[in-house]
């Protein structure tokens, strides 16, 4: 895969935007700013997905992450009070010793990953050249052109859907169970004591002890 022309320009534009927004996500003081920078990073990565001809994943990325997960993050930021952080009274990073240690490990990781990408990629290119010589496929030219004639229609979404249901139907069902567990689990975790009492979900001994500290808990009617 070699991008050229405007594709190369947009690759560098969105790639650097993703990295820059990612850095700001980690460095910003205000948690809401962090969330907004993370959204722009995710959108830039979605643009990179489009450049890699994965339009379906790009759409899912925008819908699920920006439309769902990030809204959830913003609501939780609203629910927990982070005022002290915004006003600059609290330190946003951990203690200096831990930060230095983690940055040293990050540097080792960077060096290792870049070394692996550089050396491993050359071998990969040799293998790809052999494979290209045997198959010699350029699938893009077989696809029907679009209305403007400047690009070609792709069948990516159809192919991904076909493979998802043909070879990945069991993991797909397991993922749906995982999502169900996540829904129920987050509802259970975020319940207040009052809500637990009204659902008659508290041990009587615990309830008595809690009622001593919080009298309003004892007055909650148990609804069946």
């Amino acid at each position: 895969m070699i991008l050229s022309g405007w594709e190369a320009f947009f690759f560098w534009f969105f790639g650097l935007a993703a990295i820059f927004a990612g850095l700001l996500t980690v460095m910003a003081r205000n948690a809401v700013h962090c969330a907004l920078f993370l959204i722009s990073s995710l959108v830039s990565v979605a643009a990179l997905f489009v450049l890699a001809h994965a339009e379906f994943i790009a759409g899912v990325q925008i819908l699920v992450y920006v439309g769902g997960v990030m809204v959830l993050f913003l609501f939780v930021i609203m629910l927990v009070n982070v005022g002290a952080e915004e006003q600059g009274r609290e330190e946003i990073f951990n203690r200096p010793r831990q930060v230095t240690a983690s940055l040293v490990f990050c540097f080792l990781l960077v060096a290792g990953v870049l070394f692996a990408v550089n050396t491993g990629y050359q071998e990969l290119q040799k293998r790809a050249a052999i494979q290209m010589a045997t198959t010699g496929s350029d699938q893009d030219s077989n696809l029907p052109p679009t209305a403007t004639g400047t690009s070609r229609l792709t069948a990516q979404t159809e192919t991904v859907g076909g493979i998802l249901y043909r070879y990945g139907s069991l993991p797909f069902e397991i993922a749906s169970v995982l999502l169900l567990v996540a829904i129920i689990g987050s509802v259970m975790l975020a319940r207040t004591l009052k809500q637990e009492v009204s659902a008659d979900d508290v041990d009587p001994d615990v309830l008595q002890e809690e009622a001593r500290e919080h009298p309003e808990v004892a007055r909650v009617e148990v609804s069946s």
Partner: protein, 134 residues
Amino acid sequence: MSILLSLAVLLFQEASDGRVAQMIKGVRSPDLSKFLVIGALLFIIGVAGVLTRRNIIVIFMSIELILNAANLNFIAFSRYLQETGSVNAYAGQVFAVFVIVVAAAEAAIGLGIVIALYRNKETIWVDEIDLLKW
């Protein structure tokens, strides 16, 4: 800081071979390795965020960044395998869908835990949440 150093290492490695022209060509026509480098840098930014930040919500955001970097690698390899005519070329995209599903579930559960913690401990700083420390 570590990002700048890594870029310097990359540039040094490319330039020390005396192939500056090839580097310019690599910038003008990026290939798989450039996708991998961007994925690696995003991953490392996420790791740095998880290790250094105190706010537990920002730590969750950094985890999302890490999962996204992994997704970028999956998609890039999927595209690469499509062009070399591999059999399982689309497995990367299918796997990316599952990564997104797991990330969404993880965010929902994690934020539920954050709310429960905030209700009990009145804090979102991870260095003050030391219930399991002895």
